[in-house]
Amino acid sequence: MTLNDFRTLKEMIEAKNIIFCYNGYLSQEIIVAISSMIKGKLSADETKMGISQKVLYMFVEQAQNITRYSPDQIQNPEQASMSYGSVAIGTEGDKFYIMCSNRIEKTKVAALSEKLEAIAAMNQEELKALYKEKMRSEPDEGSKGASIGFIEMARKSSEPIEFDFIENDEIFDCFTLKVVI
């Protein structure tokens, strides 16, 4: 990469009104540090607390999804494990968007895609009913969280969630998600 390449990359990021973006290995410690930066930045911008809390919520859910589910992990006995993925927070007009991307095993794509398609098509009332149902039931198979992160993100979004799965190689696809506040 040349100096010019890097500047082009930076200018592209700035042109998309990105407050923050990260591409690399994430751990819980890094998520905590970034959360602190987001709080500080949004507070300095005098963002309404109701909005800044939602931005923080979306960021932590997406980043913790990467640490839990990204197949690209480094297990180090001396340190906490780290998982590879990308996260970005930016603005479009007066709205915030929060996006994430990570690889996913092709074998898991159908189930996740089906779940997200259903969520994206639901109205607030249906999302709330599903949220309550998930609260009362056991987590989905293979879920390390509570299976309600995506539903909560959709409830807090002002627009339907957007996502896709793009071919990466024979074993993995690339999963990308966008939510708007």
């Binding site: 819980q28 998520i31 905590v32 602190s36 309404k48 607390m49 109701g50 809390q53 939602k54 923080l56 919520y57 932590v60 859910e61 913790q64 640490t67 906490a80 709330k128 949220y131 309550k132 609260m135 969280g145 509570a146 309600i148 992160g149 909560e152 807090k156």
Partner: protein
């Protein structure tokens, strides 16, 4: 009385089992929610289920929590709803005045309990 100090990702928790006053205050987004909460919630639920004709008070002032933590609190509220048949249970749900996200979480919890007295306190 048991006090668990807050960390950056876990709330301060005070469990006063003698007076039946309990509080959770701060942020909650630990990496492994069950590893943190199970050792606290399991004995707490056992204690609560052994109460009869008691006044039980829970104070919550949670400024931020992740989806997995929501489920932990939802389960606690189920227990509170169960024991409210034999006890007087009060929940004080505190939130920053402008923090409608925290307030909405409280409203979601309130909808699922029948005999628990719920107070919303804007700070």
């Amino acid at each position: 009385m048991t006090t668990i100090q807050a960390t950056v990702t876990t709330p301060k928790i005070v469990l006063d089992t003698r007076n039946n006053v309990f509080s959770f205050e701060g942020e909650s987004y630990p990496e492994d929610v069950n590893a943190f909460f199970d050792p606290i919630m399991n004995p707490l639920k056992t204690h609560l289920k052994n109460q009869q004709d008691s006044n039980i008070q829970f104070d919550f002032f949670l400024t931020y929590f992740n989806s997995a933590s929501t489920k932990v609190f939802f389960n606690l509220f189920s227990t509170l709803d169960e024991i409210s048949e034999f006890n007087s249970v009060t929940v004080n749900w505190k939130h920053h005045e402008e923090d409608d996200t925290a307030e909405e979480f409280g409203q979601d919890f309130k909808e699922d309990v029948n005999n628990v007295s719920f107070n919303f306190i804007a700070i």
